[in-house]
């Protein structure tokens, strides 16, 4: 960007702040965006399956299927919204553009809650997988919860100081993760799958209606990470085109992997086992049972050539020994990165909300030396730690965290759908690089069916969580009540109407030295 201004004789030279000349180096392409987001979504497979099975028992595949349909609708809504507004904020940004600051705040605040719960639950699951190496990490509530809290605390310190994160590492881990999960699915289908047993496990362990409904709600946790694509859109090259493509790619991969892993789990063990012994480390359970079922010499007999039999027996022997270790290490690493991603996501979101005066900008103040938003990192991590404390007293914390996630994310997703619909009505002429098809025409408005169904589905789930889950109801409502109090007080002090929106950021929210 050239500055054409030239001084003339007698001019008093006033230096124009170069801040106008900032431009952002957007480096992410579709692979980078996909791998970063998959790090989030793919990580949920390591706990969502057990969590859902704990509630929905034999109906787990059905419940995940229903949640998967809602996930597709929500991903499509995010694709349209993100392509329109490629900025950090996700549903909060859509709601601010579609309605006003108050709606933007509600979406953002509930989204923050979802992020906090993701931090808690991802970290809570890590010790279960590491229990392969030291049993008390899985079996003792005190050691388990203490380790999980230690992980969150460690990440708080690391992020407050500020460390470099490699996007290459994200990409490599996403690739290794998908490859391992595909290996598990293929081996389970070849060695363990039996359609009759599979069907018996579904029908024989069918849950109560209440559990079935709550299972659908809780299955939403399987699809965390949609927001990540939206958050990362601002650092993506040609975000209007690439963000929707990354979302569609991620949706396809996630649905295939989840379907495959569900079938593998039900082939490897009963829903009761999945929801009890392996609830917090379901993929380790699959690997354990798969490993036990692999008898290299027996399986190698299927080959006629002796040389082939030797090679196959050797390879299968290696897979049998390596699989449980690989799953334990990979799951712990991916979940650690996902916990960190949650922490980074919430601090970015807090900064974005602070910039539009939706929360006090002081929360996102940047440390003069480390250049990190230390206040938001510390505050939100402490809340995540508090949510883990019940883990010391019993295993209910796992289900309760799932319910809390459903509370925050469903409210946020419902508002994303509502905002995209509102934008179709209020701002029909704003360019939409990715426009949803299958529209219903009402008057002069084209309303996408997927967004309407998504709105109905997510709202229904949110209401169900409110009705049948007292813990999620009271903790979630307390979070929202605290947020409303802070929002109205903050806007009153700033003399800004809660419903007002001018669409422009307040400018500097950086550090003060």
């Amino acid at each position: 960007m050239a500055n054409d201004w030239q001084p003339k004789l007698g001019d008093k030279v006033v230096r124009h702040p170069r801040v106008r000349l900032h431009h952002l180096r957007r480096v992410l392409g579709i692979p980078g965006l996909f791998s970063t987001a998959y790090g989030d979504v793919g990580s949920s497979i390591y706990y969502a399956l057990g969590l859902v099975a704990l509630v929905a028992l034999g109906a787990t595949p059905v419940v995940l299927g229903i949640a998967g349909i809602l996930f597709v609708f929500t991903a499509l809504t995010y694709a349209e919204g993100t392509a329109m507004f490629p900025e950090a904020g996700g549903s909060a940004s859509f709601a601010r553009h579609g309605f006003n600051d108050l709606m933007g705040f509600i979406a953002g605040w509930s989204l923050m809650f979802g992020y906090i719960v993701t931090i808690s639950i991802s970290a809570y699951t890590i010790p279960s997988y590491l229990g392969y190496f030291w049993e008390p990490l899985k079996s003792s509530p005190v050691v388990h919860t203490g380790a999980a809290m230690g992980i969150v605390f460690l990440l708080m310190v690391i992020n407050t100081i500020g460390v470099r994160e490699s996007s290459r590492l994200n990409f490599s881990l996403a690739a290794l993760d998908i490859a391992t999960q595909l290996l598990i699915i293929v081996l389970a289908l070849l060695i363990l799958f039996n359609p009759v047993v599979f069907w018996q496990r579904i029908t024989g362990y069918w849950p109560s209606t209440t559990n079935l409904i709550f299972g659908v709600a809780i299955a939403a946790i399987a699809f965390t990470g949609l927001e990540t694509v939206s958050q990362m859109a601002e650092e993506t090259k040609r975000p209007q085109v690439r963000a929707p493509k990354a979302l569609v790619l991620m949706t396809i991969v996630v649905l295939v992997i989840f379907a495959g892993i569900s079938v593998s789990a039900f082939s490897a063990m009963t829903p009761a086992e999945l929801g009890s012994s392996w609830a917090t480390d379901p993929v380790a359970g699959i690997a354990h049972n798969l490993s036990a079922a692999i008898v290299p010499d027996e399986l190698a007999k299927g080959f006629s050539e002796p040389a082939h039999q030797i090679v196959v027996a050797y390879v299968l022997g290696g897979v049998r020994s390596a699989l449980p270790v690989l799953v334990a290490l990979l799951a712990a690493t991916i979940l650690f990165i996902a916990t960190n991603a949650g922490l980074l996501g919430i601090s970015r979101l807090a900064f974005s909300l602070g910039r539009f005066q939706l929360i006090p900008a002081e929360l996102s103040r940047v440390h003069p030396r480390s250049k990190t938003p230390y206040i938001s990192i510390i505050v939100f991590t402490l809340i995540a730690l508090v949510l883990q404390i019940p883990g010391f007293f019993g295993p209910d914390v796992f289900t309760n965290l799932g319910g809390l996630y459903a509370f925050g994310s469903m409210l946020s997703f419902a508002l994303a759908h509502l905002s995209v619909l509102a934008l179709r009505i209020k701002k029909p002429d704003v360019p939409r690089p990715f426009k949803l098809g299958w529209n219903i025409r009402i008057g002069s408005w084209d309303l996408p069916i997927t967004a309407i169904l998504g709105l109905l589905g997510t709202t229904a789930i949110w209401v169900v969580v409110l009705i049948i889950q007292p813990y999620s109801r009271w903790v979630g409502l307390a979070w929202m009540a605290f947020g409303f109090g802070m929002f109205f007080l903050f806007r009153w002090l700033r003399r800004v109407s809660p419903g007002q929106t001018d669409g422009s950021p307040t400018g500097v929210t950086g550090d003060k030295e």
Partner: protein, 141 residues
């Protein structure tokens, strides 16, 4: 070697001065355009477009100094400020976008654990830049 556009990546170290001077000397012969770029590295816990006052103030100071050095050499440079997640890729990307024929960087003589260390940005630029890269290392003393 005909130079049409030169990119000088600065970071506020003393070595920047010699790098800018050298860029002006090289550019004079072919009347090449000189771009001086400072990259603000934004942590992943912040949005990429976060405005960090102290970093901008520092960048302004560094770029102003580069303009003064160029003015002393009787040459005009164009300065720019970029925000990115990582400095190395940002410099390479900037060089590609501006189609420069040379990237010039000042190197501070630095040892880590007794071994001469180029840091992480310079090796990345040396590996990834599509054009020539010239390093101007400060004297040891």
């Amino acid at each position: 070697m005909r130079l049409e556009r030169i990119l000088v990546a600065v970071n506020g170290k003393d070595a920047d001065v010699e790098a800018v001077k050298l860029a002006c000397d090289l550019a004079k012969k072919s009347k090449a355009k000189v771009y001086v770029v400072y990259v603000i590295e934004v942590k992943r816990s912040l949005p990429l477009d976060a405005v960090i006052e102290s970093e901008i103030a520092k960048a302004e100071k560094v770029l102003t100094r580069a303009e003064e050095v160029a003015a002393d050499k009787d040459y005009e440079v164009e300065t720019d400020l970029v925000q990115a997640r990582e400095v190395g890729p940002a410099i390479v990307d900037e060089a590609m976008e501006r189609e420069v024929s040379l990237i010039l960087m000042g190197v501070t003589y630095k040892k880590s654990f007794g071994v001469f260390n180029l840091g992480r940005v310079i090796p990345y630029v040396l590996e990834g830049a599509p054009c020539r890269v010239l390093l101007c290392r400060e004297p040891m003393s």
